[in-house]
């Protein structure tokens, strides 16, 4: 059976579509969690995603300098960078957490970004833990 990685996607509603739970255009990806700011994404949320069977976590934040709450995207950038190092020690490759900082108010690129990440994660295979 072909490996179909589970990607959990957190997206900031300001930079990536303030449309509540329904996305227009290209439909909505599976496991999609719109949040009020990427700064709301806690390290525990990312760990819980992996525990629940995610193969990768995608965080879509506003572009640099454009956070509605001043610097939530920058704060999350630091958090994600340190968490990637910790995850490597847990046996989870850093490529499995990806953060994009850009502006896409319609949110129409989200589906494609999830697809791209799925493709990259497919090369890694399922999460291997000791």
């Amino acid at each position: 059976m072909e490996y179909n990685p589970n990607i959990v996607c957190f997206s900031c509603k300001f930079g990536w579509g303030y449309v509540g739970d329904k996305q227009s255009g290209n439909g909505s990806p599976e496991n999609w969690v719109p949040v009020v700011c990427s700064g709301k994404v806690e390290s525990t949320h990312i760990l819980e995603a992996f525990k629940a069977g995610a193969d990768g976590v995608l965080i879509l934040a506003c572009q640099e300098g454009h956070c509605h709450y001043q610097d939530g995207n920058f704060q999350t950038g630091k958090k994600v960078y340190l968490l990637q190092k910790v995850l490597e020690t847990f046996g989870i490759e850093h490529e499995r957490v990806r953060m994009e900082m850009a502006r896409n108010p319609e949110g129409d690129k989200i589906v494609q970004l999830v697809k791209d990440m799925k493709q990259d994660i497919s090369k890694l295979g399922p999460v291997r833990r000791f």
């Binding site: 806690e42 390290s43 525990t44 760990l47 819980e48 992996f50 525990k51 640099e64 920058f74 704060q75 950038g77 630091k78 958090k79 960078y81 340190l82 968490l83 190092k85 910790v86 490597e88 020690t89 847990f90 046996g91 989870i92 833990r129 000791f130």
Partner: protein, 327 residues
């Protein structure tokens, strides 16, 4: 005269520091010893597991179990004491959280065996012997417990009534736990014996802490002379205080050593390491991504630091498979 309550104390995958903490109760220990009948304490007294096996179920009032579950003997003893005890107290950081030895979960059992019995420079093992669970010697079979792939906390293997954190737990909390059992004034099942607040709340250095901590460089405690009265984090020294339960008596803080997190997370938090990670990064002051990354890169072994005592009970730690916990 009514029979004295029976108490068992035992160590699983432990260093003996918890037993030492019990001995450190000094005169109070003699008073406790008058009131109870100690039926098992391998580190101090000579008893046999067969004596425990011969007891009725739940005959022991309290079993205080220290150490993590690392091998099949630990698991067997844990199940035996659970069966024979009314109450089980997970005693100390290893039993409560998995402890220091839980860091072994970051590598595999094969890696450990290869290093310890083959690759370490001090190893002399020309025949390449590694521990076996059973072997024939002169027609007789000798057995050893099986080392598991993973280190577990006590609560991941048996049902635990109360948790007493600390590496080791301080005397006052040990006395609180024992007295609660002797007096029958018990907290709700599953409770952790200790305050509900974070260490920072009672830290004497908190008084001089600035309103906003901004860390520009990470420093390690042995590389600098830390200010004895200032918040460690303010000095760029990683201190687990914000994410760690208080109640330890600030023993490390008072000798100018930052908190390492042996009391585990505060109530309501499953993964203290992850919460600490978020708190620490929010304190890092950097103007650019590159600068932030440079500071983060200077943190040596972040996973080992944040999960020093709690890897097995963290979100990505693994519970013992259910089929093995029955019995």
């Amino acid at each position: 005269m009514a029979e004295k309550p029976k108490v068992a104390i035992t160590w699983l995958g432990a260093c003996g520091g918890c037993d030492e903490a019990i001995v450190d109760l000094n005169e109070a220990l003699l008073q406790v010893a008058d009131k109870v009948n100690i039926v098992l304490w391998p580190v101090a007294l000579d008893f046999k597991y067969s004596h425990i096996e011969a007891m009725k179920d739940r005959e022991i009032t309290l079993s205080m179990i220290t150490g993590a579950v690392r091998n099949s003997e630990h698991e067997e003893v844990a199940h035996l004491l659970r069966k024979k005890s009314e109450l089980v107290l997970a005693f100390g950081a290893c039993a409560t959280l998995g402890g220091i030895s839980g860091l072994a979960n970051f590598i595999s059992k094969d890696d450990i065996f290869n290093w310890v019995y083959r690759d370490a420079p001090t190893v002399v093992n020309p025949q390449g012997n590694i521990p076996q669970t059973a072997i024939e010697v002169n027609g007789k079979q000798l057995t050893l417990p099986e080392m598991y792939d993973h280190v577990y906390s006590l609560g991941q293997v048996i049902d635990v009534d109360y948790y007493l954190p600390g590496c080791p737990p301080p005397s006052d909390l040990i006395a609180t736990a024992v007295n609660a059992v002797l007096s029958g004034d018990l907290p709700p099942k599953g409770a952790t014996i200790g305050p509900r607040r974070a260490l920072c709340d009672t830290c004497p250095r908190n008084l001089r802490k600035p309103a906003r901590i901004e860390i520009k460089e990470i420093r390690r405690i042995h590389e600098v002379e830390a200010e004895p009265d200032s918040c460690f984090l303010e000095q760029g020294i990683i201190c687990m205080g914000p994410a760690t339960r208080g109640g330890c008596g600030e023993t490390c803080i008072s000798i100018n050593t930052p908190c390492r997190g042996c009391f585990g997370p505060i109530p309501g938090v499953e993964d203290g390491g992850a919460r600490y990670l978020s708190a620490l990064t929010s304190m890092l002051r950097a103007e650019t991504d590159d600068d932030a990354r440079r500071v983060i890169d200077s943190i040596d072994d972040p996973a080992g630091y944040f999960y020093r005592f709690s890897q097995p009970t963290s979100i990505l730690g693994t519970k013992r498979p259910p089929q093995a916990t029955e019995g």
